[in-house]
Symmetry: C2
Subunit: 350 residues, 2 copies
């Protein structure tokens, strides 16, 4: 099994996703600022994985606080939490995970600093194992929408590498395979960061799930030819009405799916749903460095004098989404109601 | 002015488009097989430019034929023509240009070999200057659809580098600028060959036309935000019903344009219309080498074990096309009738 991130000997170890698939190297962080840097630079990416990294980063930061009283500890702890929250803006799992760490401290009966530090480390490690369990549950639920011999298109990487392990969109694929179905995947390369080429293809080859790589511009050609049975993607933030922010290019794939009458599924844990945000219009979209577009594989390909836009995400309106596959079931339209239902039934505490 | 291709001292000189924008180098071909290789390897690309190159290649081939009688000359000449026609399958301008060279020989009153050789060279050079004139006319006609301060999205490169000079889609932009309008261009990078990044951006920067580069996956984001006023692309082959083959990814852009109610124009000379082909279903789509997808800027980015698809073109059904801008006017739906009308009125001889 691919280990995206782990806590070991009071250090956070992450596979360096910038270097895959050429090199399988691991980055060891011994302080929280290194974790923030790793998130910003996309050593680790994918909303659920960023959540786990943020929690472990906060635990690492808390552990190193030198404070002789609780007030000083909490001051410093809150600053670390704020700094962590700002690492990247779009994936809500980041602030969700940090909030969970904050709540642990707030709700702790025993406010001894050393006890709190240990509890924070335990919570961060729990978050990792919970995330894997959630993905497996989500995959098990979602695989029911995958027919035997299906060809599934995915965009970006919503696999083990985007999560604590197992994956969301690719978790559904893995679960379909475990359920005895033959599935093959068409992977969009996903410029500019090439998560499809470098990460999705790598994961699937490792597990002997047939994968065919295409450029993002080829999805329409294959869908029009009737070669795709379903689209499944991950999510970085889902608004209360189901509008879904995900990797740039997801919106185009959703439009293509609708135009050709094939189902378009989002697979994400409930922690990716942000009920405070009413519609996708209000989801902050990160604009990343121009260099990701002007350079390819480290080499400049654009002439100088060119302006560049590099929005890292786009928003797919809920009307284009067939279903949102979560660990609590597959949400269907009307999404505002099905999403609210998750909390009304008191299934989720936060 | 950018010189895409020229005939000089009985050699064909082409700017090497594989090396732009990093290096401005010129490839000199002294025999027709070098021209075929240059077309196959995309030293020169773009349907009208391929047409000019094919004609010059045929002239180069004919010039070198050592034959002591007309029959032997024609035998060899026809073989060269056939070989040239097979260089690439999708752009119809290639076979159109070769057919024109053939007809010149068939219709020539004087069948002396040396006379024919000279006439073929003259014809190939005429084809180049005609192409530039056609583009200027097409641009002049097309610029009327561009409003002042418009932002135009284009895919791939349908500029001076895709033609004898001036360009089709970018010819419309140039003509709009010459007509005193402010225009800015959003250029899709156009994976896998990056014609948008390397060629369109380079051409426009050279002419001080504002250009902003995006990855192919970002077009939907910008269109949804209302930042694009019109889409203009080139064409590799247009069927009798208006269905248009163009660079892979064009179809997705057309769907996005339709979904958001913005006009989608194709700009192409009449030589790109293939009346023998009834619908886009019958246009042959070239499948190119996997390496273009697995490698980026010369470096392998995909893991081994990944299958790859690399269709170089897709077909946009006529229903998504607002108008086809030609040197004979802007064709509108119903396209079968407007296209047939070009020949019925005896405006075009072939």
């Amino acid at each position: 099994m691919i280990k995206t991130i782990e806590w070991k000997n009071n250090r956070v170890i992450m596979i360096d996703q910038r270097k895959l698939p050429g090199q399988e190297t691991y980055l060891v962080s011994s302080n929280y600022r290194q974790v923030i840097k790793a998130i910003k630079e996309m050593v680790i990416r994918g909303a659920p994985a960023i959540g786990v990294a943020a929690a472990m980063g906060v635990a690492l930061g808390a552990k190193a606080i030198k404070a002789d009283n609780l007030k000083n500890f909490l001051n410093r702890f809150n600053k670390i939490c704020e700094e962590m929250t700002r690492a990247r803006p779009t994936a809500v799992n980041l602030s969700w995970a940090v909030d969970r760490m904050r709540r642990l401290v707030e709700n702790s009966a025993d406010k001894k600093i050393e006890i709190l530090k240990k509890a924070l480390i335990r919570e961060a490690r729990n978050l990792l194992s919970e995330d894997i369990a959630i993905n497996k549950r989500l995959g098990f639920i979602g695989q029911k929408v995958i027919k035997n011999r299906a060809t599934v298109l995915t965009h970006c990487n919503a696999g083990a590498l985007a999560t604590g392990g197992y994956g969301t969109a690719l978790g559904v694929i893995r679960a379909a395979k475990e359920a005895g179905k033959q599935v093959q995947v068409i992977a969009d390369e996903t410029r500019p960061f090439l998560q499809g080429t470098r990460l999705t293809a790598w994961e699937l080859v490792k597990e002997h799930i047939p994968v065919t790589l295409i450029t993002d511009s080829m999805a329409g050609y294959l869908i029009k030819k009737g070669l795709i049975d379903a689209v499944i993607v991950g999510a970085d933030r889902i608004a209360a009405n189901g509008d879904t922010a995900n990797k740039i290019g997801t919106y185009s794939v959703a439009i293509l799916a609708r135009e050709h009458g094939i189902p378009f599924y989002v697979a994400a844990p409930c922690s990716t749903i942000d009920r405070r945000i009413k519609t996708g219009e209000d989801i902050p979209i990160e604009e990343r460095n121009e260099r990701e577009v002007t350079h390819v594989a480290g080499r400049r390909v654009a002439p100088s004098g060119t302006a560049v836009l590099n929005p890292a995400f786009d928003v797919t309106p809920h009307a284009y989404i067939t279903g949102i596959i979560t660990e609590r079931g597959i949400l269907k339209a009307p999404f505002r109601r099905s999403i609210a239902g998750l909390w009304q039934k008191d299934k989720i505490r936060n």
